[in-house]
């Protein structure tokens, strides 16, 4: 008694979107943890009804300005399944290349400008630049290359316009892609440097018995396709996703929480899950750096996610160099034509923040009759809360400002995107009785 405490952080920063976290502790016991996502709902699943098939990638992109390609890709694949379309190998490769661009820009932003400041003791990448200008500039240049790749393939970096059900409205010009090759090669070397930097950070010793979930593909690191696997042994087709995972609506949130069935347990998606489950599928340079960076995989410490993110940036640059290097002629067919018809299809891909799942039903009128979208952050939300329950006792020795800073650091391990999850954070730690 007498040592109940209460912390308060009004707005969690360096995350995408807005929300709040409430933590109440009594002594060293965490009584209550609640992730309160207070971004207003935008009802995408409802407003997609009655829209045309070809509008879906344009509309779902607007769920998230940081990872629009994840929404576009997942929507396209799901609708192509509903329509019975098969992509050509050329379209498939260009889609992987597009996704590489998004991974690069999203991961480079998070690592250098949002997350590295936590490890190096700054309030932002902008402040960090005063002492570590070369690191911030390297991150910005990598991010720019990712955005350039998105612009060449997608027309622009945010909300690309060239992605459509069936492929691309227009194949990228060979000359435009080739011009980017030297930058992609620079990016590959720069990403190796960044991994070596971040692998040397001081990581809080916070290992948890996570159940990692990601796509898994025999022959490639997962981006657009794969089976859904978990570290606890799940191995299913994507169309079995909804019978193994369930979204639940909790009072504090405009996002839906996902849990793994049958035990309704939280799970972790994202870079750490992917590196742990798909280490063997990493391309050679990424694999070499993963194995020599000093972290033993699989890692149960999500503070290592910044390293996993870096390894994935290497992988994305490595694959981009290869695809661009081999791009000799613009494919004759950039888009498979289709006639709208009734059908249903689901698909999952790997967004920068983790697995993303979409399902659509097309009505007899050829318009969208039903849409279901499960973003990565709503899947991680339960796990973030679980982490905090375990983590908060280790920070109670600090004053409120420092305790809060450490909790926010933990939350940023997930690179949460609250706009996606419908939305993100203000942190309140309630030390009762003080």
């Amino acid at each position: 008694m007498g040592d109940k405490r209460q912390f308060e952080v009004k707005a969690l920063t360096r995350v995408e979107g807005e929300g709040r976290l409430y933590v109440r502790v009594a002594g060293n016991t965490v009584e209550h943890v609640e992730l309160n996502i207070f971004e207003p709902p935008r009802f995408f699943e409802s407003l997609l009804r009655g829209r045309e098939i070809r509008e879906v990638p344009d509309i779902t992109a607007r769920i998230c300005g940081i990872c629009p390609v994840a929404y576009q890709m997942t929507a396209c694949h799901a609708l192509e399944k509903a329509l019975g379309l098969t992509m050509t190998p050329e379209i498939r490769l260009l889609r992987r290349l597009l996704y590489c661009g998004e991974w690069i820009e999203s991961h480079a932003l998070h690592m250098h400008l949002l997350h590295a400041p936590d490890f190096l003791g700054y309030e932002s990448g902008i402040s960090m630049a005063a002492d570590h200008r070369e690191v911030v500039e390297r991150g910005l240049r990598m991010k720019k290359i990712g955005n350039d790749l998105l612009a060449i393939l997608g027309g622009r970096a945010i909300h690309p316009i060239n992605v459509t059900v069936g492929g691309f409205y227009r194949a990228p010009r060979r000359s435009e892609l080739k011009r980017l090759l030297p930058e992609l090669e620079w990016g590959l070397a720069a990403a190796v440097e960044t991994v070596r930097l971040v692998a040397g950070f001081d990581f809080p010793p916070f290992e948890q018995p996570y159940d990692f979930v990601s796509l898994h593909h025999e022959r490639e690191y997962p981006l657009n396709e794969g089976r859904v696997v978990s570290s606890s042994g799940l191995d299913i087709q994507v169309d079995e996703y909804e019978s193994n995972f369930e979204e639940r609506h909790l009072p504090q949130s405009t996002a839906l929480h996902s849990v793994m069935l049958p035990d309704a347990k939280p799970y972790l998606v994202g870079p750490l899950a992917r590196v742990n489950l798909c280490l063997e599928q990493l391309p050679p340079t990424a694999r070499r750096e993963a194995e020599t960076c000093g972290i033993a995989w699989p890692s149960q410490n999500n503070f290592h996610s910044i390293v996993a993110r870096g390894i994935e940036v290497i992988a994305a640059f490595e694959e981009a160099v290869q695809i661009v290097g081999q791009y000799q002629v613009e494919p004759a067919i950039s888009r498979i034509e289709y006639t709208p018809r009734a059908g249903e299809g689901c698909h999952a891909t790997e967004a920068p923040r983790g697995l993303i799942y979409h399902r659509y039903r097309i009505g007899d009128d050829g318009l969208i009759a039903e849409a279901k979208i499960v973003p990565p952050t709503s899947q991680n939300q339960g796990q973030i809360e679980d982490d905090l329950r375990q983590f908060v006792p280790s920070v109670l020795q600090y004053d409120d400002a420092e305790a809060t800073r450490r909790c926010e650091h933990l939350i940023r391990n997930y690179d949460p995107c609250i706009s996606c999850a419908t939305h993100f954070l203000t942190l309140t730690i309630d030390r009762q009785g003080e």
Binding site: A11, R14, P40, F43, P68, L113, S124, V136, R156
Partner: protein, 269 residues
């Protein structure tokens, strides 16, 4: 437009302050500031980024010289918050389609939002939302707006530069058609028979979509003084389905007055 730094000396300590605020949105427009990779550190040197939750933990209290507002108003709380933000900002600039016209989430304005809530959320009583998604200018006076879904980062850099040195930002007010001609893109409406919103949409994107063999779908919203109804009537005469045209006009800027009037008129016919 007066120079925002008038009251300040050139000392770094008195740099003009910029604050970035978010309402219902995807974060893409504020991300555009971080996407200005070549200019970001220079901007941070010239202006004080005083409040920008997505990018930095430190926040400075207002008032601010410039407020950049992303997103639309969809809750009572946000309707109150924007009024306080207006009081805190000398110049209030809306960035992007959500802030300037209500965004894609304004499709709810034609639907029953209670039904939307029941469809998406298992426990509707936990959800607190307004029946409409509306532009910032419907709630408070706005000094300048940057269009786009998303905005063009070059326009954002131009805006900040102009405000710092005290001139009017140079933002085009002609239509996407002009950009297509400059780019040398063959007209998709004329040559391919595609129903394209380029003739009635404000420029700024660089006419990307026609260059990729597809229609402009109005990301930058209506150009001033356009006749959207007449364009739709032309497309309909040429064989376009009316319900397709309603959807084309009623999307990311669908609730902008000119687009709204056109889609409502098509439906009423």
């Amino acid at each position: 437009m007066s120079k925002i730094s008038d009251q300040h000396s050139t000392e770094p300590a008195n740099k003009p302050t910029i604050a970035v605020f978010k309402f219902a949105s995807c974060d893409g427009c504020q991300l555009s500031l971080l996407d200005a990779e070549d200019e970001l550190l220079a901007i941070a040197h010239q202006v004080e980024i005083a409040y920008f939750l997505e990018a930095r933990t430190r926040t400075l209290a207002g008032p601010y010289d410039v407020g950049l507002v992303e997103g639309s108003i969809t809750t009572e709380h946000d309707a109150e918050r924007i009024r306080e933000i207006r009081r805190q900002c000398r110049f209030l600039v809306t960035i992007g389609a959500c802030a300037t016209s209500g965004g894609i989430q304004a499709l709810r304005n034609w639907a029953d939002v209670r039904e939307f809530i029941q469809q998406v959320y298992a426990t509707p009583r936990y959800i607190n939302t307004l029946a409409t998604s509306t532009a910032i200018a419907d709630h408070v006076p706005v000094d300048f707006e940057l269009r786009g879904c998303p905005i063009n980062k070059d326009q954002l850099v131009e805006l900040i530069t102009a405000l710092v040195i005290g001139r009017v930002p140079r933002v085009p007010n002609y239509s996407v058609c002009v950009e297509c001609k400059r780019r040398g893109t063959v007209c998709v409406a004329v040559a391919k028979g595609i129903s394209c919103l380029g003739p009635v949409t404000q420029a700024g994107c660089g006419a990307i979509c026609p260059a990729f063999n597809r229609e402009c779908f109005g990301c930058y919203g209506p150009q001033e003084m356009v006749n959207v109804k007449s364009l739709c009537a032309h497309y309909e005469q040429r064989g376009a389905a009316r319900d397709h045209l309603v959807r084309l006009v009623r999307n990311f800027n669908g609730y902008a007055p000119e687009f709204r009037a056109a889609s409502d008129a098509l439906e009423d016919q």
